[in-house]
Point group: C2
Chain length 135, copies 2
């Protein structure tokens, strides 16, 4: 398969969708977060250390629980790489978490989106996993 077959045509919109996901996360905004996902039973979400959740309702409930907390949260997203193939796009990135006492670990993420009929990218899968500290 040639590299150009999934060159990031349309990647600016996809980067914006990925940024909106992290903005909703950092703002602890569950309704904004829910609106970024496809409302189907087919979506999946794997939070770090969790089993995979299936379906919009389970995914929305998990974000409501995670975001319904008033501890300050700062996320710095790095190493973003964007891929588009047809009406599907995916982004790999690193979520660098900052707590009150400084760096609080990093999470490797794979975020998968499908372009809806209105051209908007909707999230269909998120998979985050803790990156072990280097020794």
């Amino acid at each position: 398969m040639p590299v150009e077959s999934f060159e990031p045509q349309g990647s600016a919109d996809l980067r914006a969708a990925n940024a909106a996901f992290y903005a909703a996360f950092e703002a602890r905004a569950p309704e904004t977060m829910a609106a970024l996902w496809a409302r189907t039973t087919q979506v999946t979400c794997t939070h770090p250390g969790w089993p995979t959740l299936h379906g919009f309702d389970a995914v929305r409930a998990s974000w409501a629980a995670i975001l319904g907390n008033d501890q300050p949260l700062q996320l710095i997203v790095t190493d973003e790489q964007v891929h588009v193939h047809g009406e599907v796009g995916w982004v790999t990135c690193v979520e660098n978490l900052l707590g009150e006492a400084g760096p609080a670990g990093s999470v490797a993420a794979l975020n998968l989106f499908v372009r809806g009929r209105d051209g908007r990218w909707l999230m269909v899968a998120h998979h985050g996993s803790p990156v072990a500290s280097r020794v």
Copy 2:
């Protein structure tokens, strides 16, 4: 987005591609494993606890290291859910690892494939993360 927009049309071939991935893993067959991936700089692989690796060469080298070990490995794959949207397919599943002494933990996986011009599904991303034991 209606649910049927990513119903698993063509899912039998995708299930077979996912099964081939785990067969290569369990057989500790690095060449077979390498042949299942798209040969581009765009592929990504996140082994449990690892940072994401980018590009076919890095991914192939990581599998060579992981598979180049003669300890018995048994994997039981459960909870497989298959999604196809256009020329992109993805599978979520659980990798249940069995060691010599019994169950050795489970990994939540998201495997992403792109259909090549010959109709064959090629892996473009694998993301595995350890599932914390339930207390």
